[in-house]
């Protein structure tokens, strides 16, 4: 506990130092105070946004889109990964398709998706799915492939059916890998939902940040970026908390 405290304190210190330097630079005019307003002023604006509850609407919008897209991505990625790992036929069927789409930067697909799905939530959810599904899928597949043969033999000697083996042996055994993939997908999905909102949204954090920049409300823009940073950080913390509870044996078995 003690030896974890010091690095953490140092980490906080580096943030404080950066903000302090920014504050000083902005006050002395070393940084353009219009483009880089003092953190203390941004903090004040942020405070107003938080206290007024103003942040709830856009935040809810973004989080809803993200949750639907990310949830779908995990569902599809895990299911398809399990099936591809368990059946050579299904693997053969999907592998070329996966390898074709996977290397594409998903942001490049956004304009094309607007054409098919229109400018609206359908596109945004699809973009999030596309961004998050591949790390989940690939990791699930690797998790299934890497499962210890002893575990499968154990299931076989106890007369475990194929379906039950898949659901109650393969799936949990692959869980550490699956969650690692979901962790990567979480970050990518968040990037893409913000990007999609910037390009096509009529609300949400991404839309708001771009809109504020265009209308030159720089202080507000930074305040909302701070909100976004907090969202990303919170999701990561929640994820790690969940990870410890779902796979407490990670690195120990």
């Amino acid at each position: 506990m003690r030896d974890r405290l010091l690095p953490r304190l140092l980490g906080i210190l580096s943030i404080v130092a950066l903000l302090g330097a920014w504050e000083v630079a902005s006050r002395t005019g070393a940084l353009n105070p219009v483009l880089m307003p003092r953190p203390s002023l941004v903090g004040l604006t942020l405070w107003e946004i938080l206290v007024g509850g103003e942040f709830l609407g856009p935040l809810g919008h973004t989080l809803l889109l993200f949750a639907v897209g990310y949830g779908l991505a995990c569902l599809i990625g895990i299911t398809l990964g399990l099936l591809m790992g368990a059946s050579p036929v299904i693997y053969g069927l999907f592998e070329p398709l996966v390898e074709l789409i996977r290397p594409l930067p998903k942001s490049a697909l956004v304009p094309a998706l607007f054409l098919f799905l229109g400018i609206g939530p359908a596109t945004m959810v699809t973009v999030v799915v596309l961004a998050a599904v591949f790390p989940v899928l690939i990791n699930t597949l690797q998790g299934v492939r890497g499962i210890d043969p002893v575990l499968l033999d154990t299931a076989r000697t106890f007369q475990c059916s194929r379906t039950r083996t898949l659901l109650s042996v393969v799936l949990p055994a692959a869980m550490p890998m699956i969650l690692a993939g979901m962790r990567v997908g979480l970050g990518l999905g968040l990037v893409l939902v913000i990007l999609a909102e910037m390009l096509a949204g009529e609300s949400g954090l991404g839309y708001l940040i771009l809109d504020l920049q265009r209308s030159f409300q720089i202080r507000e823009m930074y305040a909302w970026i701070a909100v976004l940073a907090a969202v990303g950080g919170t999701l990561a913390v929640i994820f790690d908390w969940m990870d410890k509870r779902v796979v407490p044996w990670r690195g120990r078995a």
């Binding site: 210890d148 002893v150 575990l151 033999d153 154990t154 076989r156 000697t157 106890f158 007369q159 039950r164 109650s168 042996v169 949990p172 055994a173 869980m175 796979v247 407490p248 044996w249 120990r252 078995a253």
Partner: protein
């Protein structure tokens, strides 16, 4: 509840047909009577695990046949339980100890679950793990993990128990405790037991008969009747003259001193 396990002329070639095909062993025949305890000893890498996997129906033989009570074995038959050399890997880390033991019984209807759980607690008590029901395998020591695997094997009510060097990874004292435990359980439950090991003393201490696998090319070189009185005791039995004779003979065989000079 026990069954006769018979291997006739079993042969295993890895990578059959390819240029680097590898003959693991050939023409191994062994007839294990119901409720008999047979040990198979052989040097490391001679194919003990492979042989046991074939006996369990987990791997196909390249030639020959495995029969369980006269029925040819092609996949893992019900009632044949395998205790793995890598016991830590055969437990499910996401399940508690009791849920690991429950695993073989989960095909049973839901209404019976409660009584089955109680039965599993009973098995845990038998292997000396009462009170550890709700721990996870990775919270236990190696010897305790193997006890969980043994309790789980009991839950499947084995007719045949196949033991693949199950005690090779624990310390000497724990090994002796586990050996006595297996003997007690074998006496109570009367399953047929086949143990493979490279530990000559372990083989003699536990078994009714000891089969010896030769160096490469591996085959069965001899089968010895142990004939030591039961119940066996770690101190008395190991000082028995017969025990020392058998140990001497088997050591010579394994160390290759009896090997005839190649012509």
């Amino acid at each position: 509840m026990s069954a006769r396990l018979r291997l006739s002329n079993v042969r295993k070639v890895y990578g059959e047909g390819s240029p680097d095909a590898y003959l693991a062993f050939d023409s191994i025949s062994l007839d294990v009577a119901p409720s008999e305890f047979v040990a198979v000893v052989g040097p490391s890498g001679c194919g003990k695990s492979t042989l046991l996997r074939i006996a369990a129906g987990l791997a196909p033989a390249s030639a020959g046949e495995v029969e369980l009570d006269g029925r040819s074995v092609s996949g893992p038959p019900p009632g044949v339980v395998y205790l793995f050399q890598q016991y830590a890997k055969s437990l499910f880390p996401w399940r508690t100890v009791i849920d690991n033991v429950m695993f073989p019984l989960e095909a049973a209807p839901r209404s019976e679950r409660r009584s089955l759980r109680e039965r599993c607690s009973e098995y845990l008590k038998q292997v000396g793990l009462a009170g550890f029901e709700n721990k996870y395998p990775w919270q236990l020591s190696g010897g305790m993990q193997q006890r969980v695997a043994i309790a789980r094997a009991l839950a499947a009510e084995p007719r045949v128990l196949l033991l693949d060097e199950p005690f090779s990874a624990v310390d000497a004292l724990t090994r002796m405790e586990l050996q006595s435990l297996v003997l007690d359980l074998w006496r109570e439950n009367r399953f047929t037991a086949v143990l493979v090991t490279h530990d000559v003393e372990e083989a003699v201490f536990l078994a009714d008969r000891v089969a010896v696998l030769s160096h490469r090319p591996t085959t069965l070189s001899e089968v010895i009747e142990v004939g030591l009185p039961r119940p066996r005791d770690h101190i008395a039995t190991r000082e028995d003259k017969r025990f020392l004779e058998l140990r001497h003979h088997l050591m010579e065989a394994l160390l290759g001193r009896l090997a005839p000079v190649a012509a």
